[in-house]
């Protein structure tokens, strides 16, 4: 099947998409956007978190066909050219990035949190990021990064 979808502000089209493919596969393997990650592919780890019509979703749980005519924003669409989004900048500065495999999903989830709650408390940050697994950092520096980003927005 053919899928038409807006990704990071651009109209994109993919042909010969198999009906069983996920939005994650579409992004990664057909549209050249591997930033969203494939850590569990069953909605448990959050590493594939993207915005779909401004709502964060696990791209692995969305069928490619469901993205037809929708607006998708991935981690690749957060920076403004060379200028990182404040959330991205804070993750690097705070040392919240080790292997970085969870980072794209966490950056999108934190970006969404700060859009909704500009100055979140620690329990609010923890609840908002509870669907994103990280195996390297123990989360402390991720919390630091979100606090830092909140202070700068």
């Amino acid at each position: 099947m053919r899928v038409n979808v807006t990704v990071n502000g651009e109209q994109r089209q993919a042909d010969d998409v198999w009906e069983g493919e996920s939005l994650l596969f579409l992004l990664r393997e057909r549209l050249g956007l591997p930033g969203s990650k494939n850590a569990c592919e069953q909605g448990e780890c959050g590493s594939c978190t993207v915005y779909m019509d401004n709502v964060p979703v696990c791209a692995c749980l969305v069928a490619a066909g469901q993205a037809q005519d929708r607006d998708v924003r991935t981690v690749e669409g957060l920076a403004d050219g060379d200028a990182l989004d404040p959330v991205q900048e804070a993750f690097v500065e705070a040392g919240a990035v080790q292997c970085g495999f969870c980072t794209p999903g966490l950056v999108v989830a934190a970006h969404d949190l700060l859009d909704r709650v500009p100055s979140p408390s620690d329990p609010e940050i923890r609840e908002a990021l509870a669907g994103n697994l990280c195996r390297c950092t123990g989360y402390e520096k991720i919390l630091d990064a979100v606090r830092l980003a909140a202070s700068r927005r």
Binding site: S36, K37, E41, V75, F91, G131, C136, Y139
Partner: protein
């Protein structure tokens, strides 16, 4: 202070002792860092692996006829297509690339499919017909040695005995215990993956996520029947490792498919396959007897421990040696009897995971120290301090600890930290959280302590070295450096450390880290907390060679100074096979934790309220990265304490997914207060002490001690599950 590259103006900015931004950080937050599973090549096809559903079976036939007929399939390969040696392994070559006539664990690879789409490959795989003669699996590590032999030499992989002092001395106070450690998974987030690209001359390039490029290469070349120079490996982005990438997974498979089809082949495991595709932490059963005098001074420790290596040896021999040599913990004991056994079973293969043998022993000996404290009427900290080793102490192996061993100091540091406020009334800070399972009723609090010891670098006489090349030339009118190694960056930040070392040694700000590959000599494994020590040492030595040629010049015109150095840490010795005596280890690392928990005793839910840590790191080359290692390592210890276990039944894995294998989330990890000591080791580059593993050892027993203190339960097994707390 954190500096951005633009702010790095003076020659020494961003050197050791500071925390400059990691050079790959920008790409990683943008989603543009290329992990192994992100790779793409024109005309590439996808590989898939058919695995055994049985833990132990004879293969009576394999029919690939129908699979080959599926449109879009390029190749279906079995063991007869392996041109070289169909056996590999880190220490024993006992594991087939593809099974021949027997499978020894559930998930063992039998056949490979290469196809134009991953789904095509899966469909074709389902058309491969394998018939099995299913056998009774060997699953009990304590009886495995006397059970059906699974390998020609029987089921004992290694026995490490240690005999020190009197073997029959008696003591005033004696405590005994039997402890169990479940099978933990590394659960790195980036699944096993790689891209193999065949060349016209019959050689192959592999872009791969691994911990050790050269040992991968050597094993791949042997399996492919190719000279080593015809197998070229380049490290791709690695999504975590923690020991789980020290063994081969899809490396040979992808290369085989690429060489047979003449096409680039990408293989990416999904999470379920990842659980079958790498080794895990050895589950263990450990029997201990501690004897002490009335003052709490240890008189003897006797232990017999079993470590389940599963179907293939992997690094079991070294894991057993660690469990044995570190088996009494960071304590002075004159009379020691250890018998540690690593065995084959039909359970999933086990090998390296952060802590590597020291974790299993650590849970048991620290549980024993608490039991001893109780028997003596002493506090858990006092009994530990009474026996704490110091610099100059003698290990059970006879080795003298010849650098800082601040065990008592670490314990006192965590003991003196302020305790968290009492049990919260905010449900988000209670066991069960927003599941709203309690408003405080049935919740009890406990405090627990633990301290651990870990060897740093490879041991037992292994020739452990790394190779570093540093090249200096003029770029835009000033000196610039490039550093090249084959030492794997897996997320820990070695790339940053190497830049920092070059900046400090050469006073050159602009340092490029070249791709890690096999065009340079061995960098050794990214394991055993060794890369900053060994590859850091090599980079430092290469800089010294460059520096002498620079001779103070800041303008070298068209000259290129290029130096490659192989660097070794001081030699170690084999253990005596009868007595376990010998200077087997290079360096010891220590960390201590204090855990505070709230336990809902009605539902068996645990919330770790705080997890404070003190660790000696010799010297913190990058303070931010050191904290990240301590926090991350402690989190993995928390996972083992209360949630993480690969559950097996009859050798079959019951929970190969992140739905059923739980790792800590941000809700599970408490804030940590951390003290970092910098007591330089005079034998190590810059005085550093390996950082990555010690916090994983003491975190688990501290948390379990806190749960015991809260509940009064014995809790002899990790992970502690709700039913252990409720008795249901």
């Amino acid at each position: 202070m954190t500096l951005t590259p633009a702010e790095l103006t003076s020659a020494v900015s961003g050197g050791i002792g500071t925390s400059p931004q990691r050079p790959d950080g920008n790409l990683k937050v943008r989603g543009e860092f290329a992990y192994a599973s992100d790779l793409w090549h024109e005309d590439m096809i996808w590989g898939a692996t058919l695995r055994s559903p049985h833990p132990y079976a004879r293969i009576t036939s394999v029919d690939i006829t129908e699979a080959l007929k599926v449109p879009g399939v390029y190749a279906v390969l079995t063991h007869s297509d392996v041109p070289g040696r169909n056996l590999y392994g880190l220490e024993h070559k006992d594991q087939p690339v593809l099974a021949v006539d027997v499978v020894r664990y559930q998930g063992e690879p039998i056949a490979l499919v290469g196809a134009d789409h991953p789904e095509t490959a899966l469909r074709a795989m389902k058309k491969i017909v394998v018939t099995y003669d299913v056998l009774d699996p060997v699953v009990d590590m304590e009886t495995a040695v006397d059970d059906t032999p699974l390998h020609p030499g029987g089921n004992l992989v290694r026995h490490v005995p240690i005999r020190r002092g009197s073997q029959d001395v008696t003591a005033d106070v004696v405590v005994t215990g039997r402890y169990e450690v479940g099978m933990q998974d590394q659960a790195f987030l980036g699944p096993e993956s790689g891209l193999a690209v065949p060349a016209e001359d019959g050689s192959v390039d592999l872009y791969i996520a691994t911990q050790w490029l050269h040992v991968d290469r050597d094993q791949i070349a042997a399996a492919l029947g190719l000279p080593q120079e015809q197998v070229r490996l380049t490290l791709s982005g690695v999504g975590g490792a923690f020991g789980g990438r020290e063994d081969l997974s899809m490396q040979v498979h992808a290369c085989l498919l690429a060489l047979y089809t003449g096409k680039p082949v990408k293989m990416v495991y999904n999470r379920e396959e990842s659980f079958y595709g790498h080794v895990h932490r050895h589950p263990a059963v450990l029997y201990y007897e501690h004897g002490a005098d009335h003052t709490g001074k240890l008189v003897y420790v006797r232990t017999k421990m079993y470590l389940d290596g599963g179907a293939y040896a992997s690094s079991t021999p070294a894991v057993v040696a660690n469990a044995a040599t570190l088996g009494v913990g960071p304590y002075e004991v004159d009379n020691v009897t250890v018998d540690a056994y690593g065995v084959y079973t039909n359970n999933p293969p086990c090998g390296a995971m952060r802590g590597f043998g020291a974790v299993q022993a650590g849970f048991a000996y620290e549980s024993q120290m608490d039991k001893l404290a109780e028997a003596l009427g002493m506090s858990p900290v006092d009994v530990r301090v009474r026996n704490a080793m110091t610099e100059g102490s003698v290990m059970p192996t006879g080795q003298v600890v010849d650098s800082a061993a601040p065990v008592a100091q670490l314990l006192k540091l965590v003991q003196d930290k302020p305790l968290p406020a009492g049990t919260s009334t905010d449900i988000r800070e209670l066991p069960g959280g927003v599941s709203n399972t309690t408003h405080g009723e049935g919740v009890v609090r406990g405090v627990g302590y633990a301290v651990g010891i870990k060897n740093i670098c490879f041991s037992e006489g292994y020739d452990d070295y790394s190779t570093a090349r540093v090249r200096v030339s003029m770029v835009s009118g000033s000196l610039a450096a490039a550093v090249h190694t084959a030492a794997c960056e897996v997320g820990q930040g070695l790339v940053t450390i190497m830049q920092q070392i070059v900046r400090t040694e050469l006073g050159i700000e602009r340092v490029t880290v070249l791709p890690m590959d096999t065009t340079i000599g061995n960098g050794g494994s990214t394991s055993a907390s060794r890369q900053t020590y060994v590859t850091g040492g090599a980079v430092k030595a290469a800089c010294a060679a460059v520096r002498s040629r620079l001779d103070g010049r800041t303008d070298i015109g068209d000259e290129v100074i290029d130096e490659t150095v192989e660097w070794r840490h001081r030699a170690t010795e084999a253990l005596d096979p009868e007595t376990g005596q010998g200077n087997a280890h290079v360096q010891y690392g220590f960390a201590a934790h204090r855990a505070v928990v709230d336990v809902d005793v009605e539902l068996g839910l645990v919330r770790v309220v705080s997890l404070d840590c003190a660790q000696d790191v010799g010297r913190a080359l990058n303070p931010q990265a050191v904290m990240g290692q301590i926090q991350g390592g402690s989190a993995q210890g928390l996972g083992l304490a209360v949630m993480e276990e690969i559950q097996t039944s009859g050798g079959k894995v019951r929970n190969p997914s992140f739905t059923d294998y739980l790792i800590p989330t941000v809700l599970d990890m408490p804030p940590m207060s951390i003290d970092v000591l910098e007591l330089a080791d005079p034998h190590a580059p810059y005085g550093i002490r390996g950082v990555g593993e010690p916090p994983t050892i003491s975190s688990t027993p501290a948390i379990v001690a806190a749960i015991r203190a809260a509940t009064g339960l014995a809790l002899t097994r990790v992970p502690v599950r709700p039913e252990h707390l409720t008795g249901t």
